[in-house]
Symmetry: C2
Subunit: 306 residues, 2 copies
C-alpha cells in the first residue's frame, strides 16, 4: 500500500493529506440548517451535514492531493449515525480515487487488536461471504501495548496490501510527558521508533515499509533525527497549520528525493473559510476556500523541500 500512496504523491506532486475532521464549529451553518429541517435536531441530521460537508471538500480538492485522513473521533462524537458518516466518507473518497488514511489510533491486546485490524483494514467472513467492514487503506495505531498489539495489523498489511502509521512522537503540547522520558540512553519515542523500524522489515513494499510512523510537525528537530533513525519508514506528519507547524520546519522530515513524508492539515484546509486570508469565499464558498488553502499548502511544502 505504501507504494500506491507514493505513486499518488508523485502523480499529484503533493506530499500532502487533507484531514477530514468535521467539528461542529467548522460545519457551515447552511448545511446543518438544511439537515435539521429534514431530520430534526438529531444525530442523524448532524451526520448528514458532516457527510455533505466532506463531499463538498473532496469534490473541491480530490484532483490536488493523494489522500485524505478522516479522524474517526470527530464522527464517533455523533454516535452511530456519525460512524455511518465516517464509512460513507471512506467510500466517497475511494470513488474519487483518494487513498484513505483512517486516523483511528487503535491499539489493544493481541486478539482485540486483531478485531480492530479486521474491522478497519481487513475482511470478516459472515457465513461464506467475505466483507471489508470499514475498508480504509491505512490506519494509525497506538504502540503502548507493545508488539502483540501491533502485529495483528502488520499481518493484515501483508495479506490485504494495507498500511499503518504507528504513533512515535505526537504533535500535541504534552506529548513529551511520557514520550520524551529517557530510557537508558534513548527516549521512549526513540525506543518506539527503533521498534517501528524493526516491525517495518516484516512488511516492505518497494523502498519503504507499509509500517510507517507518526511524527508531529510541531517538533522539527525530532523530525530530522527520526527521519535518519527510521530509514525505510514513511512518516505521517500532523500538526501543520493550525497546530503551529510551518512548511519551512518540515524539510528534515523528507529524504533528498522529496519522499519519505506526507504532511497533514485539517483545520487549515477544511475551515479555511473561517480564516481571514480566505474569508472572501464566504461560508457558501467553503469548498473553494479549502481548494485555495490546499494549493497554498502544497506550494509552501514544495518550496520547503524543493
Amino acid at each position: 500500500m505504501i507504494s500506491k500512496l507514493i505513486t499518488e504523491i508523485k502523480k499529484k506532486n503533493a506530499p500532502v493529506v487533507v484531514g477530514l475532521d468535521p467539528q461542529m464549529a467548522f460545519l457551515p451553518k447552511f448545511l446543518l440548517d438544511k439537515a435539521i429541517k429534514e431530520k430534526g435536531e438529531t444525530l442523524e441530521a448532524a451526520a448528514d451535514a458532516i457527510f455533505e460537508y466532506n463531499k463538498g471538500l473532496m469534490d473541491a480538492v480530490a484532483d490536488l492531493i493523494p489522500a485524505v485522513k478522516p479522524q474517526i473521533a470527530m464522527y464517533e462524537m455523533f454516535g452511530v449515525p456519525g460512524v455511518a458518516a465516517y464509512k460513507k466518507t471512506v467510500d466517497y473518497a475511494h470513488d474519487k480515487g483518494l487513498v484513505v488514511i483512517g486516523d483511528i489510533k487503535r491499539g489493544d491486546i493481541g486478539s482485540t487488536s486483531g478485531a480492530y485490524a479486521i474491522g478497519h483494514i481487513g475482511k470478516i467472513t459472515v457465513g461464506n461471504t467475505e466483507i471489508a467492514p470499514f475498508d480504509e487503506d491505512i490506519v494509525t495505531v497506538n504502540p503502548y501495548l507493545g508488539s502483540d498489539g501491533v502485529k495483528p495489523f502488520i499481518e493484515i498489511c501483508n495479506s490485504c496490501d494495507k498500511g499503518i502509521f504507528v504513533l512515535v512522537k505526537t504533535s500535541n503540547p504534552s506529548s513529551g510527558e511520557f514520550q520524551d522520558k529517557k530510557i537508558g540512553d534513548k527516549t521512549l519515542y526513540e525506543e518506539v521508533a527503533d521498534t517501528v523500524s524493526e516491525w517495518g522489515k516484516e512488511s516492505m513494499d518497494g523502498d519503504y515499509s507499509n509500517v510507517g510512523a507518526v511524527v508531529g510537525a510541531t517538533y522539527p528537530e525530532m523530525g530530522i533525527e527520526l527521519r535518519k533513525r527510521m530509514k525505510n519508514t514513511y512518516i505521517l506528519v500532523p500538526g501543520y497549520g493550525a497546530q503551529g507547524g510551518k512548511g519551512s520546519d518540515l524539510k528534515g522530515y523528507f529524504n533528498e528525493d522529496g519522499l519519505g513524508a506526507i504532511v497533514n492539515s485539517s483545520r487549515g484546509i477544511i475551515a479555511a473559510y473561517k480564516n481571514e486570508k480566505y474569508a472572501s469565499f464566504g461560508e457558501e464558498g467553503y469548498a473553494d476556500a479549502a481548494r485555495q488553502a490546499t494549493v497554498d499548502m502544497i506550494e509552501d511544502i514544495s518550496q520547503a523541500i524543493g
Copy 2:
C-alpha cells in the same frame, strides 16, 4: 460515578465485571444461522446475532454483577452495523441496571480526545438539543499522548458524573516492551501510575477517584505494588481466566476492606459453554453456562480476597 459502581459492587457482593466481547468463534451457531436467514450473509446479520447473544448473556447474569464491559473492537469488526449493536448493548445494559464500562482505549491530541469524550461519556448539542451519543458510564483511555489527551475525559467525568480507567500495566504478554522500561529509578508504568494518581485528585468521588487504572491480572506482583502506589485509584483488572489470571493471584489488587478493584472476565464467561467444565449446558444453554461460570468466578474472587 465510581461511588455508584462501588455501591453496585457492594449490593451484589461481587467485584466482578463481565466482558461482552462477542467474537465470531464464541457466537452460538443457531443465533448466527437465524440472523443470516433473515438478513443474508451481511454485517447486519452478524450484528443482529451479536446483540441477541449479548441480550441472552445479560438476562442470565444481570442480577449477579454490577457491570458489563463491552470491548468496542469486537463490534467495530462488524463495521457500522457492529457499532450499532454496541450502542444497543449499552442501552440494554442500562435497562438491566448495569454500569457500562466501554472498553474503547481511546486517546489522542486534546481537541480529538475531547471529541471521543463527548461521543462516549458526554453530550453533543445539535441545534438546541443535547444528546448523549454512546452514553457509556465509564470508558478506558490510553495515556501515550500525555495529559492533554486525558484531561478532556476528566473534565467530562466531572461535568457529567462519569468515570475512566487509564491503561497503566496491560495484561498482554508484550505489555512490558515499553511499559516496563526504566525511566530513571522507575518504570514507565510506574510513571504513568503516579500521573494517574495526580489526575485522579481532580475528580474525587468519595474515597476513590473517577479516574481509575487498568492493571492486568497476569502481573500479580505489579498489582500489589500498584495497589499501594495509587491509594485512591480504583483498579480495573482484565486478564482473569482465559488469559491466565487466577483468583488466588488477585488479593493484592484489593484493599483490606475488599474494595479498590474490579476483575473482568470475558471469554471465560461468555464462551463458558465451549469449556469442558460447562459443556453439559450445550450451545443452546450458552446463557445458563455463562451464569454458572459467573457464580463460580465470584466465589473464586471472594475466597481470594475474603
